[in-house]
């Protein structure tokens, strides 16, 4: 700032040498000067109340409420959108050599040296190995059905149970909110479950497979009882022999001997499916993991299946299918997570 030389410093600093012009104006205005001593503050009018600090917590609280509302609205919208696949709309199938629409009734075979990825409506994704033959049978909302004649399929679905059914020559593979790998070769289908539960069913019987376990299904034979992948190879083989040659006592002995705590589920299912072997299987299961509360082997042997399921439900297994949504990781795309 360049001060006007005609203006004295007294204007800036009243302690400086007085300037006549400014002093004259000050005197002229002197009657208006405020004197706090002559006009004291009436402190009796100051009501002493607890002065609450400004409610600054309100601002973040309101922001959080708005954010929560937006999140809920977005979640509800996403939820609705996820289940709202138009009936009959073609899926998209992409691979290095394919970029096709998978329409209802039209089959497609992934080239041998290729891999493809297809959307399952909006509920999930499937990866198809080379040579896999697939046909879309029906699609809408959260009801999707495909037919797979050969090859390998890795499915990840986050949806209520039964949203995806894969028809194979051996029978149907039904998702119960899960991730699984399915291999189809001729009339045999093998399923390995990575999360949640999968049901396999044919015209003979049906089986539930929990995460971490596998099973096989052959046309016109009962699907195999689920066995955990980390079970002893001898146990797995023995269980198969028990199922195919029910009276093979050697196989039963091996099954009982090699069973671990985690295999109690397999023992219970085997007992349910093979009443003649049930006493031995349940006794061994009881040694490994005692049944809960009022469940007794006697009750089960008398035909009380609810007791058997109470025991089964007490085991450390994946969330039941009614709580499929707990497997929220299955909503993530393949590229984000690997198992």
């Amino acid at each position: 700032m360049t001060a006007d030389r005609t203006i004295p410093d007294y204007l800036w600093d009243p302690a400086a040498e007085p300037d006549p012009d400014v002093v004259a104006l000050e005197r002229r205005l002197a009657g208006l000067r405020f004197d706090p001593a002559a006009n004291p503050l009436d402190v009796t009018r100051l009501v002493v109340v607890p002065i609450a600090p400004r409610r600054r917590w309100r601002r973040p609280l309101v922001a959080m409420a708005i954010a929560a509302s937006l999140l809920i609205a977005a979640s509800v919208g996403l939820w609705q959108w996820r289940w709202s696949w138009p009936e009959g709309r073609a899926w998209t199938l992409r691979s290095q050599s394919l970029d096709a629409k998978l329409e209802i009734g039209r089959g497609v075979t992934v080239p041998q040296a290729d891999q493809a990825i297809a959307n399952i409506g909006r509920i999930g994704t499937m990866r198809l190995g080379g040579g896999t033959s697939l046909e879309l049978r029906a699609t809408r909302g959260r009801r999707h059905r495909v037919r797979m004649l050969d090859g390998d399929m890795h499915v990840r679905v986050w949806a209520p149970p039964g949203s995806l059914v894969v028809e194979t020559p051996a029978g149907d593979v039904i998702d119960l909110g899960c991730e699984f790998v399915l291999s189809v070769s001729g009339t045999t289908s093998a399923v390995r479950v990575l999360s949640g539960w999968v049901q396999i069913a044919n015209n003979v019987d049906e089986v539930l497979i929990p995460a971490g376990a596998s099973s096989e299904m052959t046309a016109d034979l009962p699907p195999g009882t689920a066995v955990f992948d980390d079970a002893a190879a001898g146990f797995r083989e023995a269980v198969r022999r028990v199922e195919t040659d029910g009276g093979d006592t050697g196989a039963i002995d091996v099954t009982l001997r090699l069973a671990r705590v985690r295999d109690v589920y397999t023992l219970l299912v085997l007992a349910d499916r093979n009443p003649a072997l049930a006493p031995a299987l349940l006794a061994r299961a009881s040694e490994l993991s005692a049944p809960p509360g009022d469940v007794t082997i006697g009750r089960i042997l008398r035909g009380d299946r609810s007791a058997l399921w109470t025991w089964s439900n007490s085991l450390p297994l994946p969330p039941p299918k009614s709580k499929w949504w707990l497997n929220w990781r299955d909503a993530l795309p393949f590229w984000l997570t690997t198992r």
Binding site: D21, L41, D42, R45
Partner: protein, 174 residues
């Protein structure tokens, strides 16, 4: 002299927030002239004194809203500006300022003072508050800067240019 250059008033603000009326009284002693200067630049002189009280009484329960105690000067002057605007909105249509000065409210206000303050209030907005603080209430340049939130350079410019303009309007010998 008010308002203070020292930072002691921050301590007074904190004490006043806790309900210490004496501390608030001390703040009044220090800042009432700055508040008066702000008001004098905007409202009729006979109303300014009463409004000073009102501004401080209005500020008292709101001290907790002041985030930075050291900024009390700027905060109370902003409150005074708002109060002056409210005063104008509520005031009934009145005659010219000089006509009202002879009212019984301030019989002590001379016609000379009335014409001088009217001339200040007639200046461009940038100058009127600075000059009122300096010429009416005797604040120094640094004190005006602290009360108004302006920089020293801006206050100096406003003082100098405003005074020059005022002198021209009032005649060569004010």
């Amino acid at each position: 002299m008010n308002p203070p250059a020292d930072a002691g008033h921050a301590r007074l603000v904190i004490a006043a927030r806790g309900g210490d009326r004496d501390a608030f009284g001390e703040l009044y002693q220090r800042f009432s002239r700055a508040v008066h200067g702000v008001l004098a630049a905007r409202v009729p002189p006979q109303d300014a004194d009463d409004l000073v009280q009102e501004v401080f009484l209005h500020a008292w329960p709101r001290l907790a809203e002041l985030r930075e105690p050291a900024a009390f000067g700027g905060w109370i002057c902003t409150m005074a500006r708002r109060r002056a605007m409210d005063h104008h909105r509520r005031a009934r249509p009145s005659n010219e300022l000089t006509d009202t000065l002879a009212s019984a409210d301030r019989p002590d206000v001379s016609a000379e003072a009335a014409s001088a303050i009217a001339a200040i209030q007639d200046l461009p907005e940038a100058y009127r508050e600075t000059l009122a603080l300096r010429l009416v209430d005797g604040l120094s340049g640094p004190e005006i800067a602290e009360s108004t939130g302006l920089t020293h350079d801006s206050v100096r410019v406003n003082l100098h240019r405003g005074f020059k303009l005022l002198r021209e309007r009032l005649g060569a010998t004010p």
